[in-house]
Amino acid sequence: MKMTTKKIATLLPALATLLSALPLCAAVTVQCPGDTNGDAQWTGAEVQPANTQCLHLAAGDGFATMADGHLQYLFSFKDVTGVPPQQVMSAGALAAELPGPTIKMKEGSHVYLNLTNVGMMMRPDLFDPHTVHFHGFPNAAPIFDGEPMASISINMGSTLTYYYRAPEPGTYMYHCHVEATEHMQMGMLGNLYVTPLQDDLPDGTLLGSHTHHPDPDANGPLPGDRYVYNDGDGSTRYDVEFPIQIIGFDSNFHDQHIGVQPLPFAGMKDNYPMLNGRGYPDTVNSASLPAPVIDGEPGVVSQKVSAKVAARVGQKVLLRISSLATVDFYTMTVLGIPMKVVGKDARILRSSSGQNLAYSTGSVTLGGGESCDVILDTAGVSPGTYFLYATDLNHLSNGPEDFGGLMTEIELTL
């Protein structure tokens, strides 16, 4: 797939045409209580109400670079929280991030997620609406569930504000559900998790035989007690957390898309499997990857979420693993450190009679739409480099490139 700078230059007028073709009432309208200037955050005199979070995501298209250098066209979300509403369309244009921005919620918060559809710059022939599906939220209502056939989706140039009270804590995920096969394969996916109220208990609270210390060295370097769930006994306590989302790209599908060709659904086969939007060894780069280069010109930095895991020996490491792959199941293993599964699909593993059902294993298997919480207890483990990778070994590839794919590293230091 070749994109010439000339082609991009001709697209900017196309953007203008696109925007002027929108209905007159199409507008970016942000709803966020206490926010008066529409940038979805509270600055200056604006007052943030208690237990309230606001976000603004722009849904559109963009590019990312696979670990073997292959450029891929994609759809996804960009975090435009803080961008004045009149600048959102241009800030979001061709700026989609892979994965979409990680959304972190506090249990019980009133969450206002503003979704603005900024259109697809590279496909001006398409008028796709978008949604955000909050995957796994219990007792959802269709209006905010983001499944477009049973509710509404937002057209280009406009904003839909979702409202949720963040539900039970755990590891969820989010994605666009419009024309799900296409939009999800194209990358409209992201990590989402909810932290428990137990994290905010006063210092010294007794939880069974565990004493809660949220900040053991008073704002020093030691991470404090945090928990995956309101476990009541400290059994899901962790020190450091890493959301890791498994996705896959079918490079032929993405190449056909930017080439304005019919989309090959029947032949869909993911050949670029990724963790947090990257193949190995980019997974272990702690920084954002360099901006994708589109025919010699740098675009917008899009791959901002690392998959590198780092901890000190003795710490409990939480891996919030989710999969939004559209084709395959994957099995993830850590070589050298036992994996303890404490939760699945945002629910603590506990019997109805209160017994702890967390279990140790050598690998976890996830299909699309599944999540699990794995704690690695590094007490007694030697410092060094360990590997979190897929036992579907042929997916240790970046397409035609060997020694890649679904692998990242866990760096344990003293």
């Binding site: 209905p23 507008a27 709803q31 609406p129 007792n139 959802a140 499944e147 056939m149 019997s351 599944e370």
Partner: protein
């Protein structure tokens, strides 16, 4: 690409007819009851929603036409079950009954896995005692890689000793109590296998590439048309779960194909209470049950799950009752009065009479789904532009239940389709059309 709603419209018209006028009461899980079953392995054609037609081999009920999946056999715990298999195909066939112990086979010819009914007129008879309640499956044990793909698979349900119409339980424990039950027999299909069999050519089962995905034998949106739809004479079962808030819905999930499928339910989690016909238990009841939003359905395996929905903790009144719209139900302070309808109390008490805290976009800024009622409130019809919506005549809440390997939401390259259906939550008092 936004090109599919028009393609779907023709197939969805039967949905509209069905939902508007109903078909009268019928059992939510269709099947055959009794203790002796006469099945005939025969050929027929399966219809896919984008217009495909493929040769299948299926178990028919006696002289009735081929059906896919085979008839759901519903028996009572402790019954001695006899299944007589007659074979009209040109290859030997058989049946295995995973989960049943001591299955005896008589007649027919010896096979590698079990006794078989020889080709073209042969027969064999199987017998077993259905000792334990639960959800099971049956399928061919002869050249299973070809014959399961061709359609020789079905469901077996054993009702527990304590089951009655007024006490619907899946196992002998109240943890398995339900109000409605639905079958989710998930399968996958590679049409080239069927075309080669139809043409008498050899099949390479190691080169299998599915492009169809089915629920109870149908591709979406046919999953949502009535059972025994005359347009689908060989696919009698549909997959259209319906409920009221607070109901307990039993999902009987069966992996009937060859691939794993991550089955995802929108709307709420589901509680898996049993696998392979055994309660997840360490003693009493389903105390080891798992709450999942997506179940991995494994080929050959079965699982039972309970789904419920109340609308709790949403933060706003799901019926749209506020002081402005219903002053009799909601006082000026925004609290429910004593007149608040008693049958609409499944949601959290603190949420009653609260308005939605955001404004929804203007009609011109949004796209309406064909199953949208036009209103965010349960049981309320909203205004929709002409030609939009209309497939939700009772304004229920509809949630997509589907495979989360989104590739499987297609019919041979056409989106939408495949392993997808819509579950309807109707407002209290609305008669369910597919109970």
């Amino acid at each position: 690409m936004k090109n599919l709603l028009t393609r779907c419209a023709l197939r969805l018209l039967p949905v509209l007819v069905f939902l508007a006028f109903g078909t009268g009461a019928h059992a939510a899980i269709d099947g055959l009851t009794g203790t002796t079953f006469n099945l005939t392995a025969k050929a027929g054609y399966l219809s896919t929603a984008e217009g495909g037609s493929y040769l299948m081999w299926g178990y028919a009920n006696g002289s009735s036409p081929m059906q896919f999946p085979g008839p759901t056999l519903i028996v009572n715990q402790g019954a001695v079950v006899t299944v007589n298999l007659a074979n009209e195909l040109s290859v030997p066939v058989s049946i295995v009954f995973p989960g049943q112990s001591g299955v005896t086979a008589n007649g027919g010819a010896a096979g590698v896995i079990t006794r078989e009914a020889p080709a073209a007129g042969g027969s064999v008879s199987y017998s077993f005692t259905a000792a334990q309640p639960g959800t099971y499956t049956y399928y061919s044990g002869t050249n299973s890689d070809l014959q399961v793909e061709m359609g020789l698979v079905g469901a077996l349900i054993v009702r527990p000793t304590g089951y009655s119409e007024s006490n619907k339980i899946a196992y002998n424990h109240p943890d398995s109590q339900y109000d409605r039950e639905y079958l989710f027999l998930l399968s996958d299909m590679d049409p080239t296998v069927h075309e080669k069999v139809a043409a008498g050519l050899p099949v390479d089962n190691a080169a299998w590439w599915p492009v169809y995905w089915l629920m109870n034998g149908r591709t979406a949106p046919d999953t949502m048309t009535p059972a025994n739809n005359p347009l689908l004479p060989h696919q009698p079962y549909n997959c259209m779960p319906m409920m009221h808030p607070g109901d307990r819905v039993l999902l009987r999930m069966i992996g009937a194909g060859r691939d794993l499928h991550p089955f995802h339910v929108h709307g709420n989690e589901h509680k898996v209470i049993a696998r392979d016909g055994r309660l997840l238990s360490s003693g009493a009841g389903a105390n080891l049950a798992e709450n999942l939003f997506t179940s991995t359905v494994v080929p050959g395996a079965t699982s039972d799950a309970i789904f419920s929905w109340t609308g709790a903790k949403l933060g706003w009144d799901i019926y749209g009752f506020t002081h402005a719209t219903q002053p009799a139900y909601c006082d000026a302070a925004g609290n429910p009065t004593a007149s608040y309808p008693a049958d609409r109390m499944s949601q959290t008490a603190a949420d009653r009479c609260k308005p939605i805290p955001v404004a929804l976009p203007n009609q011109t800024d949004l796209t309406n789904g064909q199953f949208y009622s036009g209103s965010p409130y349960l049981g309320t019809l909203g205004s929709l532009p002409p030609g939009e919506g209309g497939y939700n005549p009772n304004s229920g809440y509809m949630f997509m239940w589907h495979s989360h390997s989104e590739k499987e939401l297609t019919n041979n390259d056409i989106f939408p389709g495949g392993m997808l259906t819509m579950m309807i939550i109707e407002a209290p008092g609305v008669t369910l059309m597919n109970p």
